[in-house]
């Protein structure tokens, strides 16, 4: 949300977000509006509440197009049909006249993707795009996103809590805990050699497939974001805790090329 400047006005945002070399946090409002939806777009978890229930699918996709391009209604409508074809909606021409409630969850998410891709963005932020969908449909939507990535040279930031989705659909992964990145690595390194205790614990808590064995749960609960501990935010639940962890906040540092971690312990043997 902060990346796109979508957070409420009361939120304080610091730091830099560079997009193609330009810090977009300091962009004036109108330039940000031009960028948002045009070069960076977003899809959300719940496709029902992100679509307008009283407008047809065709009207909503056309609206996006006409907001960014000088386009006639007719051209926008034709382009909308192509977009629905692109996201593999069967019978696209007929679906343009449909209202969101007439579509299934999977089809609605396809429509959301069509809208997000309407202006051929360079970056797509997908916030839990399949969490609200069923497993068989989830696989279809993620497969579609990968196809589109390859067809249109799109970059995707996929936000998910599902490690299975990461394992099968991502190239690189960053693990967040309480507002900070704990570990960043290629997907292969992350699953084979996680270095942050939180990442290790996450991987261990995946149901392994063999039934009835006990799951390894992470003890304790996530601290409140309004009341964070002083040092490492995972310290209270960490199996490799030592006193220094509650003193200083560990910074994200590289342990091998392309693999960074924010844990003091990870550098003990180095």
């Amino acid at each position: 949300m902060a990346l796109l400047g979508l957070q409420p006005e009361s939120a304080q945002v610091e730091g830099e977000v560079r997009f193609s070399g330009q810090n977009i946090l300091t962009l004036p409002g109108d330039q940000m509006t031009a960028l948002r939806g045009r070069r960076i777009s977003m899809i959300f978890q719940d496709p029902m509440s992100s679509l307008n229930p009283v407008l047809t699918i065709g009207q909503q996709i056309s609206e996006t197009l006409r907001a960014h391009f000088d386009m006639s209604r007719r051209d926008a409508w034709t382009r909308s049909k192509h977009l629905l074809d692109l996201v593999r909606v069967p019978g696209a021409a007929g679906r343009l006249q449909a209202y969101p409630h007439e579509l299934s969850g999977g089809l609605r998410q396809r429509v959301m993707i069509a809208m997000a891709l309407a202006c051929e963005p360079e970056l797509l932020l997908a916030d839990e795009p399949t969490t609200a969908l069923d497993v068989t449909v989830q696989a279809q939507i993620l497969d579609l996103l990968l196809d589109l990535r390859d067809e249109t040279n799109l970059s995707i930031l996929l936000i998910t809590h599902d490690l299975g989705v990461i394992a099968n659909f991502a190239d690189r992964v960053a693990v967040m805990y309480c507002g900070r990145v704990m570990e960043a690595a290629s997907v292969g390194d992350f699953f084979d050699a996680p270095s942050h205790p939180y990442a290790e614990a996450l991987i261990r808590s995946i149901p392994g497939g063999s039934s009835q064995e006990r799951l390894e749960a992470i003890p304790g609960t996530v601290p409140k974001l309004t009341d964070l501990p002083r040092g490492c935010r995972f310290a209270t639940r960490c199996l490799r805790y030592r006193a220094a962890c509650s003193e200083d906040l560990p910074e994200l540092r590289e342990i091998s090329p392309g693999h960074s971690t924010a844990c003091f312990r990870a550098f003990d043997n180095a």
Partner: protein, 325 residues
């Protein structure tokens, strides 16, 4: 351990259970325009000390079935027997007494706790309704059973995390020492790191108290972990059932096979994952003739579009409703 033999008299037996909801109304008539066949002829057995996993996609009727089992909904037709005694048509008064024996745990632990009631009051409510005394001690005992401190009885739900609230809901469901708990997606709303804690808790309680569970979930990974038996639902019907091993390791119905292969491998495989089936669930208002899965089935033949298959035995305890298994 209380794990009983599956050949014992089942705790609950369900036969030809149906629930149809009216949709819309015709002009000048009391007849509805159409019927939504949420549950459309289900047979099940639930055993003491065992867990039945009920899986399927959203809209397949699994939550409706869960609610029918504990009589939160009136069935349209069919039989539900508890220890051999018919309960699908008992009086409201008798039902009140029966309710002690089956409890439910819901998906959203915030929505199922009254925000203005203290934890202790919420947990004691079932005992209060049933006129059972000694509530304070029992509340403390139940909170301890779910690994919470008895001191939290004086606090309010908003002070707790999702996982803690789900523990409170479980404590409340346990106060009357039920024989059966129907848990409808109890971990779906929780963080992954907390899901494992709650799944372990369900297993510990079952070992201690020997109760039967119906565990409704769309997550086959969790079901494989917690359940002994599985029933797979598709558009209001059970298409396959049997032990976890039989059904998930050697699925006989093409739909179960699709569900199992839609589980993402938990670790990178180096191969691009491909979706097993296309399309999604048809509407339960216009259920197609013949096999309900035929429109998405990779091996559908003419027969499938004509004749609806019935559940047939394919292995030891495994049954599937497919013409071609």
């Amino acid at each position: 351990m209380h794990r009983s033999d599956p050949n014992d008299v089942p705790l609950m037996t369900v036969h030809a259970l149906k629930k149809h909801f009216p949709v819309g109304r015709q002009l000048f008539s009391k007849e509805p325009k159409a019927w939504l066949r949420a549950v459309d002829g289900v047979d099940l057995q639930i055993h003491r000390g065992r867990t039945l996993g009920l899986v399927g996609e959203s809209g397949c009727g699994k939550s409706t079935l869960g609610r029918l089992l504990i009589r939160l909904l009136e069935p349209t037709s069919g039989a539900i027997k508890l220890d051999g005694e018919e309960i699908s048509n008992v009086s409201a008064r008798k039902l009140m007494g029966l309710r002690k024996r089956f409890q439910m745990v819901f998906q959203d632990p915030m929505g199922s706790l009254d925000p203005r009631m203290k934890i202790g009051e919420s947990v004691a409510e079932p005992m209060y309704l049933n006129g059972i005394g000694n509530r304070r001690e029992k509340v403390a005992e139940m909170l301890e059973a779910v690994s919470l401190s008895p001191e939290i009885a004086n606090r309010f739900p908003h002070e707790f995390s999702g996982g803690q609230r789900q523990r409170i809901c479980i404590a409340r469901a346990l106060t009357l020492e039920p024989d059966l708990i129907v848990a409808d997606e109890p971990v779906a709303a929780l963080d992954v790191s907390v899901q494992a804690q709650i799944v372990n808790l369900f297993q510990d309680i079952q070992q201690k108290m020997g109760l039967g569970y119906v565990f409704i979930s769309h997550d086959l990974g969790v079901v494989r972990h917690i359940a002994d038996d599985v029933a797979v639902m598709y558009l209001g019907k059970i298409v396959e059932q049997g032990s976890v091993k039989e059904v998930l390791d050697a699925p006989a119905h093409p739909y179960t096979r699709a569900l199992v292969s839609a589980i993402l491998p938990p670790r990178p495989t180096g191969v691009r994952f491909r979706p097993p089936v296309s399309g999604d669930l048809p509407s339960p208002i216009n259920i197609p003739k013949g096999c309900r899965f035929a429109s998405r089935c990779p091996m559908a033949k003419d027969l499938c579009r004509e004749e609806e298959p019935v559940l047939r035995r394919v292995a030891n305890g495994q049954h599937a409703a497919c013409h071609f298994t």
